[in-house]
């Protein structure tokens, strides 16, 4: 999978700039993500990770720069535009409804419906949606969601993350952005979510993961892109790099005390 780097990238960013007033959050960032690849996006607070993800997700328009999706230049002006391209974003708050069950959350806003009445008064095809949910979860090797008809309020953090990710897969997304998917999760839950991220890549999706946790990053990513003060500060192939190299890039060369000099 990492060998696919020779092919055309799924998403290529060139010279992305974004300012909030006088603050230059991004000053010319380049980035490539390939199909079947997990790209970790790391950097210190304020390095521009979240801003970059928001421009890809369509939440904030970039001021300058080019987006090439599957080889052709695109404009991502709104979340809808991103969704139409096949870019799904799983924010930290997951945006799921606690009072609805797993199936209802997966299909929210795009329910399968049938006759007899028109418009939003059409009946829900609950059985068909549940079957499709089972398929998607099985494809992603999610085995911990056993009762798809219980409200998600009773699920663990990892399971909720799985619901949010499965929603992205269900709608045929090609690129999935994950914002700190393992923050606030325990060890076992983190394992599960990292496994989920890998299985997304194995299905041929491009994945961008924002994370603060370098040990998670080194377990899941194929490549690691470092941002520093709104600019690229190096891209590392996971198999060929050490965490200390990445830390050095994040901090701008200063190694943490105790790390090798």
């Amino acid at each position: 999978m990492p060998e696919m780097t020779t092919t055309e990238p799924l998403l290529r960013l060139e010279g992305i700039r974004k300012s909030y007033g006088a603050v230059h959050a991004l000053s010319g960032v380049d980035l490539d993500v390939h199909r079947g690849e997990v790209l970790a996006l790391v950097g210190d607070n304020g390095a521009g990770k979240s801003t970059l993800v928001k421009t890809i997700a369509g939440a904030h328009a970039a001021d300058a720069g080019r987006f090439l999706f599957e080889g052709s230049e695109v404009r991502i002006g709104s979340p809808q535009a991103a969704a139409e391209l096949g870019i799904a974003t799983v924010y930290q708050d997951l945006a799921i409804c606690d009072n609805l069950d797993v199936v209802a959350n997966l299909f929210l806003g795009r329910e399968q419906v049938r006759a007899p009445l028109a418009g939003r008064l059409r009946r829900l095809s609950n059985a068909a949606m549940e079957q499709r949910t089972q398929q998607v979860l099985a494809d992603l090797s999610v085995t911990t969601l056993t009762d798809l008809r219980r409200p998600v309020s009773g699920l663990s953090g990892g399971q909720r993350q799985a619901v949010a990710v499965a929603r992205a897969v269900l709608w045929g997304s090609k690129l999935v952005l994950l914002d700190e998917p393992t923050a606030a999760l325990g060890v076992e839950q983190t394992d599960m979510v990292l496994g989920l991220v890998r299985s997304l890549a194995e299905r041929g999706l491009g994945v961008i993961v924002i994370s603060h946790n370098l040990s998670d990053v080194f377990r899941v990513a194929d490549r690691i892109a470092v941002l520093r003060l709104g600019r690229n500060a190096g891209t590392f192939v996971r198999a060929e790099s050490e965490p200390d190299d990445v830390v050095a890039a994040i901090t701008g060369g200063r190694l943490l005390s105790g790390a090798k000099a």
């Binding site: 799921i96 009072n99 795009r110």
Partner: protein, 405 residues
């Protein structure tokens, strides 16, 4: 998580995995108890009052009870919709009074045909709800405040419509008949048969759809029970009420609207979106649910139901007065919805259970009336029941939150 087979490789009728007692108790606590708490509460209330006064469960008194429940019940159907999306509407009571006054003026003073007067009252009610919902959604004023303003304003309109007399009698036979006429026995049984056939077909079709797709189906016994229990209960009601004047048309009206709204909320895309908005408005918006549009729609729908409740009030009193729709009426309707399991925090609630909640309130008032207690006692009792019901809601929410963390 417990080691249970994944959904996909679980055979549909595998023997249940052995589970410990603790797990089972936990599952029982987590399970959706549906109407069970309110039915148990209702049974307790009925038994207590029957022990205190042997007339309580007489056909005549239960028939009265059905008529008593009409106004609050109809209002509570609107209330539960508003609560579902996590809003509140304090104006529904005086809105009902205003619509009732409007209908009476059109009918008695202006000589409109009855259908036109009723249609106008319901349309004006819906428009008033549309206005309040629109202000709340577009301007961003909390619904609590907008409808508090509406509460005062609609009462003012009602007083203006009724003028100095402060009361207007309604002689129209149709309007009087809404809450004062009864189905012939054959028709009551016929309607019950049609409803039962429809319900059974629905249960069977749902079961078949799941079986075809290889999904887990409920145990057959449970589906059979779901088929039999409501029909048996309905047959009991029809047989019992036949011992007095028969089944009141009002019960058919209430039941019909409750079934329609129940289907709307649980079976349609719009209904799913109501729950989503009440559960997490921002998540719903991001998922593409047209949140604002639906919120306005719900305020209009609840207001239209309030207008119908106003008509029922007129039919019960043969008149409209300045007090119609006022007093504690709306608070009782909100209490009914909450006692029936609707959450004041949004996203939880069932339409028909609001009717059961209304029945609880009406039963308490009716029973205390029979015992000759003053209205002060009724107010205290109703208040205590409401606080108890909301407390149960709050505790169960806290439990759910604790588990989810």
């Amino acid at each position: 998580m417990s080691a249970v087979p994944t959904p996909t490789d679980a055979p549909t009728d595998a023997p249940a995995p052995r589970v410990g007692l603790g797990t089972r108790l936990g599952a029982a606590r987590d399970a959706d108890w549906g109407p069970v708490p309110v039915i148990v509460g209702l049974a307790v209330i009925w038994i207590v009052f029957q022990l205190l006064n042997e007339n309580f469960l007489s056909a005549r008194n239960l028939s009265n009870l059905v008529l008593q429940v009409g106004v609050v019940g109809m209002l509570s159907l609107g209330v539960v919709l508003v609560l579902l999306i996590g809003e509140i509407d304090l104006s529904l009571g005086t809105l009902a009074g205003m619509c009732a006054a409007l209908m009476a003026v059109l009918l008695t003073n202006d000589g409109w045909p009855v259908w036109a007067a009723i249609a106008a009252a319901v349309a004006v009610g819906a428009a008033a709800g549309l206005l309040q919902g629109g202000i709340s959604v577009i301007v961003g004023v909390p619904s609590f405040v907008v409808t508090l303003g509406g509460f005062l304003a609609w009462q003012g309109v009602q007083l203006t419509l009724l003028g100095n007399a402060g009361e207007l009698r309604v002689e129209d036979e149709f309007v009087r008949g809404i809450a004062n006429s009864y189905l012939p026995s054959w028709l009551a049984w016929g309607l019950l048969a049609v409803a039962a056939a429809g319900w059974w077909a629905d249960v069977a079709l749902r079961r078949r759809a799941r079986t075809r797709l290889d999904l887990k189906v409920r145990p057959l016994a449970r589906d059979v029970a779901a088929c039999i229990a409501p029909v048996a209960f309905g047959a009991l009601v029809v047989a019992y009420l036949d011992g007095y004047f028969g089944v009141p048309w009002l019960l058919v009206l209430l039941g019909g609207i409750a079934v329609a709204l129940g289907a709307l909320t649980t079976r349609t895309q719009l209904g799913r979106h109501l729950f989503a908005i009440g559960g997490d408005r921002e998540a719903a918006r991001r998922a593409g649910v047209r949140v604002d549009q639906i919120r306005v729609l719900v305020f209009a729908l609840a207001a239209a139901l309030a207008a119908i409740a106003g008509l029922i009030a007129v039919s019960r009193q043969f008149a409209v007065s300045t007090g119609t729709g006022g007093g504690t009426l709306l608070l009782e309707a909100i209490a009914a919805a909450v006692i029936g399991g609707a959450s004041l925090f949004g996203g939880q609630g069932r339409v028909y259970q609001a009717l059961l909640g209304a029945l609880v309130i009406a039963s308490v008032e009716n029973g205390l009336d029979l015992l000759g207690k003053p209205s002060s006692t009724k107010d205290i009792a109703t208040g205590a029941i409401l606080v108890a019901a909301v407390s149960i809601d709050a505790i169960s929410r806290r439990r759910r939150a604790a588990r989810g963390a």
